[in-house]
Subunit: 215 residues, 2 copies
């Protein structure tokens, strides 16, 4: 597997044709997965706002999961649980502005995937309970199955793997983050050499309420 | 960045010299990170037992975080929160046996790192609250800083990134999992082409109690 940063993308503005800009900057091969930081999508889709952060967080949130001072962990309209419901000042286009999550990152991924002819993951950096640091995860998916279900499969000794379902879309998003970096102005990467099949969306990654021990 | 599976490792038994077996199977370059599934380490270190699973889970756990029927989310002696305190039947060496986590996976990583001259991550598959599927994360680290601290750094627009700390060791473990697979008998991989510096252990990834909103 190779992970290749896509360099040379300009700063994205509302209305930009992200697919065309990425097509200019990248050479895709069959089977590639394109991973794009959601900020690129959000900016192109005009999801940049001015306002008081906490107010915006409460507006974007469907449910507050935890709160301690200014730190709010919230569930977004998409069902993702993350800090500030995805409202973020870093890499915002201007002082005083905040970037929101795309309204429908799966749909954004699907449109990019159709234009570029490769699978697409829209990523964001999420914190995790009990563990320090963020890892990038998939908040939009098109052209691949985000979960690989090994349930009913067998390990090397022939025993059934009864509860193994791997969130490959999240692992791919994290792998891309390792080459994109945070400050280098490289918001996209190609992951090449995986044999992935299937279809699905990032909503498939949301734990259904009835199975959720941490709701 | 390239992620290269290490093929041809034999089934590991108690007392095996894992460093020698990996050295035979892999060609390392300067700056490589070796990612090894903890099962390899656990088996070599004799952490394979017979017994009733729930009893073993309770023995391995320092604290039960959630329980629903047979599903137990527990904190291990190392501070990791995961299903069954890491006690697992899949890829066990014989029917009726269970594999436990290494007693000190950071120490196991350090010994491998010293023998092989590369950074080492010992990985395990963890579930996540609110998200379906597992991702591989680092439970042992040697020869690299598991967290990259961008706090105080600046984004491409010059604004301070105030709360960004990236769990690169977890992202590397996840990237390696994409090529290792679960059933192919490939329990190790090389991650090549990252410029990583620093030192640290997987215990650095455990959220300190006073900052933990989900304890």
């Amino acid at each position: 597997m190779r992970v290749i940063p896509i360099e040379g993308l300009p700063e994205i503005r509302a209305g930009d044709d992200v697919a065309a800009l990425i097509a200019d900057a990248a050479d895709f091969e069959k089977g590639d997965v394109l991973v794009v930081s959601h900020k690129v999508i959000s900016k192109a889709e005009g999801r940049v706002v001015r306002g008081e952060k906490l107010e915006l967080v409460l507006r974007e949130a469907r449910r507050i999961v935890r709160r301690r001072g200014e730190l709010v962990i919230a569930e977004t309209r998409h069902g993702f649980v993350c800090a500030a419901a995805g409202v973020d000042a870093s890499n915002a286009p201007e002082p005083g502005t905040l970037v929101l999550l795309p309204l429908d990152p799966d749909d954004s991924a699907a449109r990019l995937s159709e234009r570029l002819g490769v699978a697409v993951i829209v990523s964001d950096s999420f914190g995790r309970p009990w563990r320090r640091g963020t890892t990038d995860v998939a908040i939009g998916v098109a052209g691949l199955a985000p979960l690989i279900d090994l349930r009913g499969g067998r390990d090397a000794m022939g025993y059934e793997l009864r509860s193994t379902e791997i969130a490959v879309a999240d692992e791919i998003a994290g792998a891309a983050e390792l080459v994109k970096g945070k400050t280098a102005g490289v918001p996209a990467a190609i992951v090449r050499g995986l044999s992935l099949a299937g279809e699905g969306t990032a909503r498939d990654l949301v734990m259904p309420t009835e199975r959720d021990l941490f709701r």
